[in-house]
Amino acid sequence: DVKVTQSSRYLVKRTGEKVFLECVQDMDHENMFWYRQDPGLGLRLIYFSYDVKMKEKGDIPEGYSVSREKKERFSLILESASTNQTSMYLCASSPGTDPSFYGYTFGSGTRLTVV
């Protein structure tokens, strides 16, 4: 089974801190995604990457950046954390051949609280 591992389940950070959320997948998937999930708003796409060093903005990229130096790892960076970035963050991956056929495999999520 594909595993998508997010390094932290819970994080508490202070306003203004630089925050790194790490995601690693072990099945050689080309595509990787970062979502945030908020009550009443569902899942919203922040950034995605379809190859090493490639990235594309999702629907809500403001205040975030990403890094993909290796195929298996996709990092989400909050340059200067703010309280409105308190949320559940979900990483996902999918094969590059036809992700609409396979769907995504999700990690367990990181619940980030910014105080």
């Binding site: 009443g40 899942l43 979900l90 992700p99 609409s100 056929f101 769907g103 999700f106 999520g109 619940r111």
Partner: protein, 113 residues
């Protein structure tokens, strides 16, 4: 562009009674459709998927869904709810060849003993 509508953000069912979660989609092309489940403080797990084969799709934990093109629907059902079915359920659509998925807002299911 594709989108998904899930009505009834909160659904309560009694244990042992049927579960029905409604999903209507919009897609410009032949869609792939998925249902995911999320238990509290967990990631999303794939329940089942439709990718242009059989229109009645069986998934894990006794769930199934039927693709109806004429109604642009992909409703999720289970004959008999179990306490462990208490979770949030997401209907998801993607156009073939498109690597982005469109998520519904989710159905929060509560199972009453």
């Amino acid at each position: 562009a594709q989108s998904v509508t899930q009505l009834d953000s909160h659904v309560s069912v009694s244990e042992g009674t049927p579960v029905l979660l409604r999903c209507n989609y919009s897609s410009s092309y032949s869609p792939s459709l998925f249902w995911y489940v999320q238990h509290p403080n967990k990631g999303l797990q794939l329940l089942l998927k439709y990718t242009s084969a059989a229109t009645l799709v069986k998934g894990i934990n006794g769930f199934e869904a039927e693709f109806k093109k004429s109604e642009t629907s992909f409703h999720l059902t289970k004959p008999s709810a179990h306490m462990s079915d208490a979770a949030e359920y997401f209907c998801v659509v993607s156009a073939r060849g498109n690597n982005r998925l469109a998520f519904g807002k989710g159905n929060q299911v509560v199972v009453i003993p």
